[in-house]
Symmetry: C2
Subunit: 289 residues, 2 copies
């Protein structure tokens, strides 16, 4: 397969690394890459994340027989990037992306691709580390991690994208953009706001000695609960901006859950509180091991 | 020193283990233990967490020259345990505890001890693992972990309790019971309710396919944010019951923080949301590394 990767950060670079590592004589992969940064292009070539990389697609030889182009840019750049590249790529090429929202991407991206006789299948490979950029790339980053792909009438395109992510070890789930966005709002986007609000609430303490003591005593419980609230602010903003209705829906439901816990505590309903916590203890097992 | 440990679970057992391991000819420690379970007593003796253990203090020889008694029972049993043991122990013995709340314990415990010419200093050694019971004990469990002790007019008692926790490697912070309870509500008790409410909110999803997808996609972010909400329900209930006003205070502040984040998202205030998340990212460093 000939695969283009646009955006050579952690996800794009790690994808290229695995695809080139699995390339064989009988099933060779050829990977071209595009990044805004000439240094990143050089580094991606040096570590064999790509065969060739450039800041400009016109410097890439023989793009004409490319099978799949994977857009690995931040969410806000996905549509403009497809818009810019589609006219320079052949008919029948398939675009996919790696964005953590799908409804805001899939319909407009499909429309752009259609204009050029090209296909689009939305992807959300859920893999990552605390680090970013080409210097953070990892072999087997995607192994056993879930990847959502969105439905398409073009069964051949769907099969190619599915097999791309399967080849790097991902578990594939097909879901509508709307279902994807609601599920991801629940377990990924809303938790960022829930967690960030906890840090902000602690900082509201006006008694300096209590605040200082809290900071000294904070340990693994606070570390874990606050972790995603201390993450990349730009990413958090983009999640909310591009998944606004689903994240609000999740946060409203969350407010109600929290309010009922507060009511139990206010009204000394200790047995009910313990039963509620026994439910959350057991329900958590549905989500994580 | 001659030290009694009442309640031979993870905390009591690990404390005994470290105290006996550091016992030397020049500074010998003698540890007696009490547990409700004869099996636990045997096991504590077998692993050298105590020199002798029994279900009944009357079976412990020479309790008369005990220096400190550490009550390592669940919160609800601390006061009844002191009430039962104080008449059977000498004047001048010092009681301390390991409860995660202090205002509900320190004043009544001090009053009981005073009646018998004994001292009380509240302690909260903040150490633990995901496991419970004598079979979960660990050497060096307390090493470099924070321990709050509450003020006392009895400077000798305070010094003895401070030195007990220092001897197992703890960082000591002296704070009033009220300041302790507010700080711990912020960074430990409220996060349990914040985290549990997240699990409960996800379970509210009525669309089975979205719920199933969310459960399949949940990963490290959800794992961390939900961890303390999936903890021991009895412990969660006791935190709320014995630290009711401080935990409610923290949760009200939390509700306001969450509400302002929701408002930013509702009103498309993306730059403000990003600035808010940049603050929480940087403020988190005051609490955890």
């Amino acid at each position: 397969m000939k695969i283009g990767i646009v955006g050579l950060g952690l996800i794009g670079g790690s994808l290229g690394l695995d695809l080139l590592a699995q390339s064989s004589e009988s099933e060779p992969n050829y990977i071209w890459g595009i990044s805004r940064s000439p240094d990143t292009c050089k580094q991606a070539e040096a570590i064999a994340a790509v065969n060739i990389a450039s800041t400009n697609i016109q410097n890439i030889p023989d793009v004409a027989n490319t099978d799949i182009v994977v857009i690995c840019t931040p969410i806000a750049s996905i549509l403009p990037t497809i818009q810019a590249l589609a006219p320079q790529l052949p008919q029948n090429v398939i675009f996919t992306d790696v964005g953590s929202v799908k409804a805001a991407i899939v319909e407009p991206a499909s429309k752009i691709c259609q204009q050029f006789g090209q296909g689009f299948v939305g992807s959300h490979p859920m893999a990552g580390t605390a680090f970013q950029g080409i210097s953070a790339v990892e072999r087997n980053l995607f192994q056993n991690r879930p990847c959502v792909i969105t439905p398409s009438e073009d069964q051949a395109a769907l099969a190619k994208v599915r097999s791309l992510w399967q080849s790097v070890g991902m578990q594939i789930y097909e879901a509508s953009p709307e279902d994807h966005d609601r599920a991801v709002a629940m377990i990924s986007h809303a938790p960022v706001m829930v967690s960030a609000s906890l840090i902000a609430a602690c900082q509201q303490e006006s008694d300096r000695s209590v605040l200082q003591l809290a900071q000294n005593l904070a340990s693994s419980g606070f570390r874990d609960t606050s972790r995603v609230g201390g993450g990349n602010p730009e990413l958090g903003r983009l999640m909310a901006e591009y998944n606004q209705s689903a994240i609000l829906r999740s946060l409203y439901t969350y407010q109600q859950s929290l309010q009922s816990v507060i009511k139990l505590i206010e009204q000394n309903q200790w047995a009910e509180l313990e039963a509620f916590l026994a439910d959350t203890q057991s329900d958590r097992n549905f989500y994580v091991e």
